[in-house]
Symmetry: C2
Subunit: 223 residues, 2 copies
Amino acid sequence: MSDSSPRKIIAVLGGTGKEGRGLAYRWAKAGHQILIGSRTPEKAQGAAADLTGLLGGKAAIRGTSNSEAARRADIVVLTVPYAAHRATLESVSSDLAGKILVDVTVPLVPPKVAKVQMPPAGSAAQEAREILGEGVQVTSAFQNISHEHLLGNEAIECDVLVTGTSKEARAETLGLVRDAGLVGWDAGPIENSVVVEGMTSILIGINREYGGSRAGIRITGIG
Amino acid sequence: MSDSSPRKIIAVLGGTGKEGRGLAYRWAKAGHQILIGSRTPEKAQGAAADLTGLLGGKAAIRGTSNSEAARRADIVVLTVPYAAHRATLESVSSDLAGKILVDVTVPLVPPKVAKVQMPPAGSAAQEAREILGEGVQVTSAFQNISHEHLLGNEAIECDVLVTGTSKEARAETLGLVRDAGLVGWDAGPIENSVVVEGMTSILIGINREYGGSRAGIRITGIG
């Protein structure tokens, strides 16, 4: 953990899905304590057991309800499909006071998932902000990372753009990006999340058009 | 011109500005015929003379009014500041029937230019679509390329995402991207332009935050 953030308790809500599992795996490997949350705690316990096995038994990962995971964590990461976004946030809202909610959600509208279609709030992250109110810092990150990459150990050729409601919350989230083995960038206020969420639709379209599955983005020209 | 698109007449409206001059320079170098448009034709003629000089006299570049440039061109590129976007489009609308309008405009709202703030239409390109109606194909491109790069000859470390109202119009615009010496990607329907226009604000913020002037993006993971 010498290069990692101080050890934290990280809740991954919707952590039984592929994106959530991948992030939980990487953060557990970096030494953080992980609480996988699910509407069905038994599924969360199953995912926790799987990931602990993948890590050779040397990981602090537990499965529980979304609400308990949110209540006991230092920082809470939301990785549910967009259809469950509002209901999950409303169910844990009271557990988030004073914490940071890292929203990974992309508001895809099937069947046209390669077309940018944002909710009335402007983006999923701004919708989270509306639901949670001023007492919770909301950041937005990891939307462009293909879950196929996260459970491997190879370098990931995609940067992470972090937007959020305060510079401090973005800095904290950038620590989690580093601990996941990724390159992150402070991409400004939460209003900018429309760009990052929408980029996922463009990358889906590029994968289709150019015959790939791993399109990503890199920031160039700095340093 | 062996690798370039067939020789075209390209109008660059607002072509006396830095972005417009840079694009005109690169397309003239690739062998296209350029009409620089301006509200003040004398200024356009001055810019045309400057660029012809830069190219050693061997270029087909003329300066004229925006309206004449639009009327005589095969394809029309709009590079005005956002404050002049609507008025310029309205003034050339009747000259654009059956053509492609390539919108380079970024709807920055000073002083918070690092915060994404889109017009009610959703993006500048969608606003152009509303103003011009169904008889004009609108594409959107080049918003993330710093003008400092275009007048040089070195490779530019920033890809161009092209959105637009039809696949054919995007393909045509991708030809112009190649002719400018840049790597382009079909980024889908015109609704996706919010991502590309908004990315400019994120890149401005990254330049400020990380101390640079040339932040760009690359698409990775394909091929």
